[in-house]
């Protein structure tokens, strides 16, 4: 797939991957052998009929491809861009054994972009079922909340989404940067959900403005919690509160949600510094590092305690980051941060690590090499270690069972929680996961909520 030149894209926030041309899409679609086993479908968490939509592309019937995709996935333009295809649909593609699986995600994106350009209107109210007279409150407007709300609205229920921030979209809006997922695509999906009759109330922090119990008493028949896993984790080591040390959430929120890359046109500032160290090896770390580069940092390091193959980030993004000149300091873990007398971070003392036996996650456990301490000079540090669910809703909702990790306990198939009339899904249940798994959970919960409302 064509991409912006690394030297050019390292200085702008425009989308890196440019998408297939019509010819490229057809050529890729032609490679698909339409295997009867349909292994690829099993790899997709929402069971998209992959061979069928690829066949439609091959036959030049893109509108049909749109319909096939949208019947299972309300947000194909997003999933095609951000799904970890190499561990989901593409890894099980029959052609993967020969090392060249069909680029399913890229084809999905191609179809979604075609639709955006040719403007079909799937939100026309003719596809909605007649009103059921039931009301559902959806908390959070990330992929879980948006999907759940869309499905419930199509089934004829009156849905209100309550979102804490001033823009809808969850991580898609505040976390994943413009150059990987353009915000007009997210906005387009949000507009689609609104076109189904869903009301989105921004600036509404549930647990504060109203509790879940108040919503249930105040006229909502059911509540879906799609509040994500937004609470940042820190390392808990010396010097972590020094000026210049950000959580990835803060760094990315300033850049994406508050548009600090357009400062002073936009009022929210950000510190970039000359040398930036990003700690972590996931998508979040790659995004933060690549943002820092685009904001003008001269040297950007990814500091990760395991080796390259254990990195949980999408492979494509690791390659993109490397191409853009991000420096990988692998098998490295910070011991402490060192600051100057004005309270600014100036350096980071690190350990060298080596890999031991596999741990519970199946990855080899990193172990400190004794006496291996060394210093890296830095001006800004971004901690991208992961996140846990925000306790605002759990701590104010009676009768909701919470697991040790702070996640809400919910049935995997239905999303039902231990509290009557309350469902949950997405990162708030699983801990930080993926866009497509959050959507799958939103979908399953919508079906279960619908069944309950009709019983």
């Amino acid at each position: 797939m064509p991409r912006q030149d690394p030297k050019v894209r390292g200085k702008n926030f425009k989308e890196v991957a440019l998408g297939y041309t019509d010819e490229m899409a057809v050529r890729e679609a032609n490679r698909c052998i339409q295997c009867p086993k349909r292994a690829c479908v099993e790899g997709c968490p929402v069971y998209i009929d992959i061979p069928a939509f690829i066949l439609a592309i091959r036959e030049g019937n893109i509108e049909e491809a749109v319909t096939i995709l949208k019947s299972k996935n309300a947000l194909p333009g997003i999933c095609g861009r951000v799904c970890p295809q190499e561990t989901q649909c593409e890894i099980v593609c029959s052609l993967a054994k020969k090392g060249a699986p069909i680029a399913i995600g890229r084809l999905e994106r191609y179809v979604a972009d075609w639709e955006l350009k040719h403007g079909s209107n799937p939100g026309s109210s003719s596809s909605l079922l007649p009103s059921s007279g039931k009301r559902v409150a959806v908390i959070g407007s990330g992929p879980a909340g948006l999907t759940c709300a869309a499905d419930l609205a199509k089934l004829g229920h009156e849905v209100t989404i309550f979102e804490a921030l001033h823009v809808a979209g969850g991580v898609l809006t505040y976390g994943i940067p413009e150059f990987r997922l353009p915000k007009n695509i997210v906005q387009n999906e949000v507009d689609y959900v609104k076109s189904l009759g869903v009301e989105i109330r921004l600036d509404s922090v549930i647990g504060k403005l109203a509790t879940v119990d108040e919503l249930l008493e105040g006229g909502y028949d059911a509540v879906f919690l799609g509040t994500g896993a937004g609470l940042p984790m820190f390392l808990g080591i010396l010097g972590e509160n020094l000026n210049g040390i950000y959580s990835a959430n803060e760094f990315l929120t300033r850049v994406n949600l508050m548009k600090a890359y357009l400062f002073p046109e936009y009022d929210t500032p950000i510190k970039v510094g000359r040398r930036v160290a990003v700690i972590g090896g996931g998508n979040v770390a790659m995004d933060a590092a690549r943002c820092a580069l685009r904001l003008g940092a001269e040297e950007v390091y990814i500091v990760y305690r395991r080796s390259r193959i254990e990195m949980p980030a999408r492979r494509e993004e690791v390659e993109n980051a490397e191409e853009e000149g991000i420096i990988f300091k692998l098998l490295t873990n910070p011991k402490q941060f060192i600051g100057n007398d004005q309270g600014w971070v100036t350096a980071m003392e690190c350990y060298e690590m080596e890999l031991g036996e596999p741990d519970a996650s199946g990855r080899r456990r990193p172990i400190i090499k004794p006496g291996s301490e060394f210093i890296i000079g830095v001006d800004v540090v971004v901690v991208a270690l992961g996140t846990t669910p925000n306790p605002l809703v759990p701590s104010t909702t009676k009768g909701l069972e919470i697991a040790k990790a702070g996640t809400v306990v919910a049935d995997e198939e239905t999303g039902k929680t231990t509290k009557d009339r309350v469902w949950a899904g997405g990162d708030v249940v699983t801990g930080a996961a993926t866009v497509i798994s959050a959507m799958g959970a939103g979908k399953r919960a919508a079906a279960s909520i619908d069944a309950f409302l009709r019983s």
Partner: protein
């Protein structure tokens, strides 16, 4: 969009702004704040709820003009709208019947302390309010505070009205004379809250301060507002803003509040140029 119902300058650099916000007004409790984003370009800034009226559906904030966002807010008129307003945020003040309570306020904190004092009075405490200002002209809301306290002590840095000194001076004097004070609440600038805490520490009087760290979301999502209290990292927006002043790492808070000094000056200059020069340029073009 949230409608501004009134914008009154109280003293030269502090404005009272009343905003239509029925849902927040219904739920607000003393010590809580709201996050405001004035316009499309705006930063998210926290402002303490200085008053509210659940029936009328309004909230009141006092803003001290220090930079771009507060200048933008002060420049709005009744009838204008602000783009975003989220609240009520933070934990409410920990109020109870303590006995004798001192409520100290400085800067915008003179207003922010009002709901705290009023609630404490309602709970049957003897409430002593102490407010401070650099000079007489910067004092405001004395009558309002008088109504909710048993005693109001006014201090000015230059002695132009009331006691010459700062809020912690009469407080220290009371404690040194052996006066029995069961609890102190302080709202104001970082320095004022630190000095108040230092004044009460030797006497072991529990002192609660409303910290003013820099925030982004105000919902616990970014960690920008982290402070150290009793050696533990806390998020001001969800664990506070009220903390035990004797446990706060003041040096860290003061340092973290200066992170963006350069950018704040640039931002203000940019906005002032936009605001004052652009219209003139346009007129010339026509």
């Amino acid at each position: 969009m949230y409608k501004i119902l009134a914008n009154e300058p109280l003293v030269p650099n502090i404005h009272l702004i009343k905003i239509e916000a029925p849902a927040i007004a219904r739920k607000a409790l003393p010590g809580q704040f709201a996050v405001v984003r004035v316009d499309e370009f705006g930063e998210r800034i926290p402002l303490t709820l200085a008053d509210w009226d659940g029936e009328e559906g309004t909230i009141t904030v006092l803003i001290m003009q220090v930079g771009t966002s507060t200048q933008k807010l002060a420049a709005l008129n009744a009838g204008d709208h602000i783009l975003n307003l989220a609240g009520p945020l933070g934990l409410p003040s920990h109020l109870d019947k303590f006995g004798t309570v001192v409520c100290a306020g400085g800067c915008y904190g003179v207003g922010a302390i009002l709901p705290v004092a009023r609630a404490l009075k309602g709970l049957g405490n003897k409430v002593i309010c102490i407010i401070e200002a650099r000079i007489k002209n910067l004092l405001y809301w004395q009558e309002k505070l008088q109504q909710v306290s048993d005693e109001l002590i006014v201090t000015t840095g230059d002695g132009s009205s009331g006691y010459k000194g700062w809020a912690y001076d009469p407080l220290k004097e009371m404690l040194e004379k052996g006066g029995k004070i069961d609890r102190v609440f302080a709202h104001g600038c970082t320095f004022m809250m630190m000095l108040t805490s230092e004044a009460t520490k030797p006497f072991g009087v529990k002192t609660l301060v409303a910290l003013n760290s820099i925030m982004v979301d105000g919902t616990g999502m970014c960690g920008c507002c982290r402070v150290s209290v009793g050696g533990k990292t806390k998020f001001t927006c969800v664990d506070g803003p009220e903390f035990d002043g004797h446990e706060v790492d003041w040096e860290l808070l003061a340092a973290r509040r200066t992170i963006y000094l350069e950018e704040e000056i640039r931002s203000l200059t940019h906005w002032e140029c936009q605001r004052w020069y652009k219209p003139i340029v346009k007129v010339v073009e026509v």
